[in-house]
């Protein structure tokens, strides 16, 4: 069910995790050369944040306050910039047709998924590390005091979203106009994440204890676990010819 990779022996010097980390390292090195993915994501995210600020207007921004405003603005900009970034994750594989080469490597196909997941997480994490302080400055909330809670909440929800996104970008990479499909495929299934992210981030920004949203955090953790398990199982099936 995992795509027939279990019969392959690990390469010399490589284990399951090692293989995954090597793929992640390769992708990150590619990314760091020209930083195209990260910069396009960052530009889109900043544009969305600014567009929100201008559309709402100063009186509304003042009246809403950061606890109500920032969760929505932050997660919408993260969502859509991550979507555009995830598209690029598999685009290079398709352009240079290296996916076949990857599959032929003597590692379990789900290790490819893990490697892609790691590299996507690093890129999206960098984006968030830039975006969070930016919203703190622009909308006036205290990042320093809220940091542990906000970091946990953002990490949990990003993990789920990127896990789902890596699987789906593998799915749509072989379709015509797959990029257009990625958003419409991902967003309905990410709804629990989006709802939970909004609630949990609001609580974290307001410096309230996270136990208030422990149910939603639990739901997100369950969602993450379910998505990771399903992706690991199904990824091999997807990439095998």
């Amino acid at each position: 069910m995992s795509g027939g990779g279990t019969s392959r022996s690990p390469a010399a010097g490589g284990s399951y995790l090692g293989g995954a980390l090597r793929i992640a390292g390769k992708d990150l090195r590619l990314e760091m050369r020209r930083l195209t993915g990260l910069t396009s994501m960052l530009v889109l995210a900043i544009a969305i944040v600014l567009a929100f600020a201008f559309c709402f207007g100063l009186p509304t921004l003042r009246r809403l306050g950061p606890e109500r405003l920032v969760p929505g603005v932050l997660w919408i900009s993260l969502l859509f910039s991550s979507l555009s970034g995830l598209r690029g994750a598999f685009a290079s594989e398709r352009e240079r047709e290296t996916l076949t080469a990857l599959v032929l490597c003597p590692i379990d196909p789900s290790a490819i998924y893990l490697g892609k997941l790691f590299s996507n997480l690093v890129v999206v994490g960098t984006l968030e590390a830039i975006l969070l302080p930016l919203t703190a400055v622009l909308f006036g909330w205290d990042l320093a005091s809220a940091l542990p809670a906000v970091a946990l909440v953002v990490f949990l929800h990003t993990l789920g979203f990127v896990a789902l996104g890596t699987l789906f970008s593998a799915m749509v990479t072989r379709l015509r106009q797959g990029e257009a499909l990625l958003a419409i495929l991902m967003l309905p299934l990410s709804v629990p994440l989006i709802i939970s992210a909004g609630k949990a981030t609001a609580v974290a920004i307001a410096l309230a204890p996270l136990t208030e949203v422990r149910f939603w955090l639990g739901l997100t953790a369950a969602f993450d676990a379910l998505t990771l398990a399903a992706s690991l199982l199904l990824f091999g099936f997807l990439v095998e010819e």
């Binding site: 069910m1 699987l167 799915m171 749509v172 072989r174 379709l175 015509r176 106009q177 797959g178 499909l181 419409i184 495929l185 967003l187 309905p188 299934l189 709804v191 629990p192 709802i195 939970s196 149910f215 739901l219 369950a222 969602f223 379910l226 998505t227 399903a230 199904l234 099936f237 997807l238």
Partner: protein
């Protein structure tokens, strides 16, 4: 042009001729007959359902709440003495244990059964409490349904609601069928992943096409009912959110099928999507239900318990109708997909040598 037609005809005749004769007989003909029968049954049932609902053979739920039936609690005010009684109507076999229970078989019970709590006063066109004449404690008494209890105005609003409310006889079964389709698509996708059988891939694809059809019916009929009843077309209530998200998931599935460049890729990707949707859909359901918080919820379910067998049977009949309709469409669509695949396969077969070189135009 002529050559193309000839060679195409020759090709199909040649291939269908010997081996293909089997396709047109036996199992295929039985399958065609069965699906035609199923479609005819679905059409008859649907006609019956429309006639039943719009011809007024089923009571609409709004009227239901007005009418006294077994299990209802009524507040009666004695016309002469002004005494207010609260009584519950028990089934005729049971003996009342307290003073506030009466049996449906008693004189008063019989008088109350089937009465509407308010009657339309022709002069003022308003609701007036109905007067009931019955017997209690051995003497004849006249009661009026308590005028101080909240009454539903019997006015044009209720009459106007009767028509849109009938949509529920189609709206609720469609919703149930949509959920059925989710599990069908998930199951068929799983079987396809395990066995790579083209048949199950076709079943999953048909199921998804029907799923989006019935989901669209749900999303279109719902607001038609909601606007006269609640005054708005849409609200962010969890049932509506969940149905909208389901619609988007099905839309994505069908778009994947449309955008795939080869049948194999389409089946692969769609099967993963169909399978993934099944565990995630309950999660979306849970999240959407909990999201709305403490906002008052309009319930889309039936108002209270249905004592009237006419309403329950009406719903049951409509659900059966929609189930047969879904099955008929599923069978027809799956067969159609199978025939299309067969046709593609026949078209792609190389022409045989004795018919001469297959011209390039015969494609």
């Amino acid at each position: 042009m002529v050559m193309r037609d000839e060679s195409l005809t020759a090709m199909t005749r040649g291939s269908v001729g010997a081996k293909g004769a089997n396709h047109a007989s036996g199992a295929s003909r039985a399958g065609a007959a069965a699906s035609a029968l199923l479609a005819a049954l679905a059409a008859v049932l649907m006609f019956g359902a429309i006639w039943m609902v719009f011809g007024g053979y089923v009571p609409t739920t709004k009227r239901q709440a007005q009418r006294v039936e077994v299990g209802s609690t009524v507040r009666l005010k004695d016309v002469e003495s002004g005494e207010v009684l609260t009584l519950t109507l028990l089934p005729s076999g049971e003996t009342p244990r307290t003073a506030s229970e009466i049996s449906a078989g008693s004189v008063l019970g019989q008088a109350l059964l089937g009465k509407e709590r308010t009657t339309r006063d022709a002069a003022t066109d308003r609701a007036v409490p109905t007067i009931v004449e019955g017997e209690m404690d051995g003497r004849a008494r006249r009661f009026r349904f308590d005028p101080d209890a909240p009454q539903m105005p019997y006015d044009k609003k209720i009459e106007a609601l009767d028509m849109p409310q009938r949509i529920f006889y189609f709206h609720v079964p469609s919703a149930i069928i949509t959920f059925l389709a989710v599990f069908l698509v998930g199951g068929a996708s799983l079987v396809y992943i395990l066995t790579r059988s083209r048949f199950w891939d076709r079943v999953a694809r048909s199921g998804a096409e029907l799923g989006i059809l019935f989901c669209s019916i749900v999303l279109l009929t719902g607001p038609i009912w909601a606007k006269p009843e609640w005054g708005h077309y849409w609200t962010w209530e969890w049932r509506l959110n969940f149905t909208a998200i389901l619609w988007l998931i099905y839309l994505g599935y069908n778009l994947v099928r449309a955008y795939a460049s080869s049948a194999e890729e389409a089946s692969l990707v769609s099967a993963v999507l169909g399978l993934l949707a099944v565990p995630l859909v309950p999660l979306v359901y849970v999240a959407a239900e909990l999201w709305e918080g403490s906002h008052p919820k309009p319930t889309l379910g039936r108002a209270g318990a249905q004592h009237d067998p006419l309403v329950s049977n009406g719903f049951l009949f409509c659900f059966l109708t929609f189930f047969i309709l879904f099955s008929a469409l599923l069978v027809l669509r799956t067969r159609l997909l199978g025939l299309e695949e067969e046709l593609e396969r026949l078209k792609r077969r190389p022409a045989r040598a004795e018919r001469g070189p297959a011209p390039e135009s015969a494609r």
